[in-house]
Amino acid sequence: MIPIRTLAEVVALSAEGASSYRLTLRIDGWPGFEPGQFAMLSPGPQGAAPRSDPLLPRPMAVYREQRAKGAAEIEILFKRHGRGTALLAACSPGDRVAVVGPLGRGFELPAGRALLVAGGTGIASVYELAARLHARAPGSARVLLGARSAGDLMGVADFETLGAPLEIATEDGSLGTKGLVTALLEVALARDAEAAVFACGPTAMMRRCAEIAEARGAACSASLENPMACGFGVCLGCAAPLRAGGFALVCRDGPVFDARAVAWEGLP
């Protein structure tokens, strides 16, 4: 998919759970995306006087899309935690958001069954993967979602509508099993050691997923997050250390990596 750079139009912005947002953007010429790919977003004003502060766009997973004749609507789920996401959260319908995307190498669809493990905002990266796997073979993908509290989850209703097997864990027990989502993975993988693991979430969560999968001899793909300025391999800011030595770029070589290739202790 060849990425584009364009000004998208905000169609809708709504609350998602207690602490997140769902942004719907209309993009002319959007080429589509693969599960796990992302886009760089800079909220307006754009054009003659581009925004200089905050300067950098924010990498965001593409949650899902609806396409119709040349134009498409994409959805982005995000939490507000800094100046860039605060600007996105302040958007109104009709506002412009500069978009560069789709970017990066997403998830490779497994031949057999899959366990999708996502925590917090990482949930936004795995919906499309779940949808494609479920469409190909209903029931072949089991989704495990985790967050601190029920209000911190996102997209739960969409996963329920999808109909893929779904389990939830919250640290405070306000929804689903009390505890970490990685505990759900241990149980699920013990039941089905043939399944491939796909993880996205906080670094500590993904590292634990990688350990659990490695102990069971299961394949594990993890979608990393790192600060980046460009998203297409030129700023070299998003380096992730590799077990074999050296670095890979999260934006160009990832964001999805074979978890065994990542030197987890070297991630910031």
Binding site: L56, A229, F232, A239, P268
Partner: protein, 318 residues
Amino acid sequence: MSATNARGGEICADVDLQVELAGIPLRNPVLTASGTFGYGTEFAPFLDLRRIGGFVAKSLTLEPRRGNPPPRIAEAPSGMLNAISLENVGVDAFVREKLPALPEGVVVIASIFETEIDRYAEVAKRLSGVSRVAGLELNASCPHVKSGGIEFGQNPAVLATLVRAVRRATTAPLLVKLSPNVTDIREMARVCEGEGADGLSLINSVQALEVDVERRRPVLSNVLGGLSGPAIRPIALRMVWQARSAVKLPICGMGGIASAEDAIKFLLCGATAVQVGTQNYLEPSAAGAVVDGIRAYCARHGVRRVADLVGALETKRP
């Protein structure tokens, strides 16, 4: 039919955007800055490289090099800090693999960066006579180990030795990219002129530090980084203007250019051409928009040749 603008000049449809920078003919004065434009091909989805004057490739060392561990970048008010270090494919792979991947008609300036003077000269030698390389940009902001880690471009005597050595190693057009981290940029500009440089590029990023107060640690793994983006633009304009007053060498101006208006400020202050840098990250088609905007400005102001804007800043009180 002819119209007139506010200052009575005729608005002309055809604007001559061509300039010559240090002996390199350019179709327009807009280049992109080293380290912000990869090896050019990364921008193919966003910008036809033949629309811009040319680009300066990522700085090259003799051997391929890995960069610093993360975090390598940090956001700052209207700017960003980076400490990537020397990460690049090395001069030989650049000539063998990167240059042939570029379309014909793209002007490429190679940037060179090393830790020792003889190594700088060797990189320059390997790029000399390579037909796709229109000129060299000598990045003088590398820490010089033998001088205790200060940048080559911070000590006039060290800078003179470096420029002399590279000048001997190549007959290609040679721009020296100066460090802004100096007391008097005019002194460094004169050193380059005296040692036979063909032009100056200024400014490089400004040495800076950003702090994470929660962790009480520097944000960057390298502690220090280079500040770039709109935050440094007025500093860059000042240095271009000062260097212009000190030497006859043509100047390629850069530092926080995000729009045609920003680029024109550099031309007025004495830059023959400009480089778009950090803006390429957030707006990968930015340099093309700057070309279009300069053309529109010239048409609106009745400027037939963009070269007529160079150094046209009026500082006398009316």
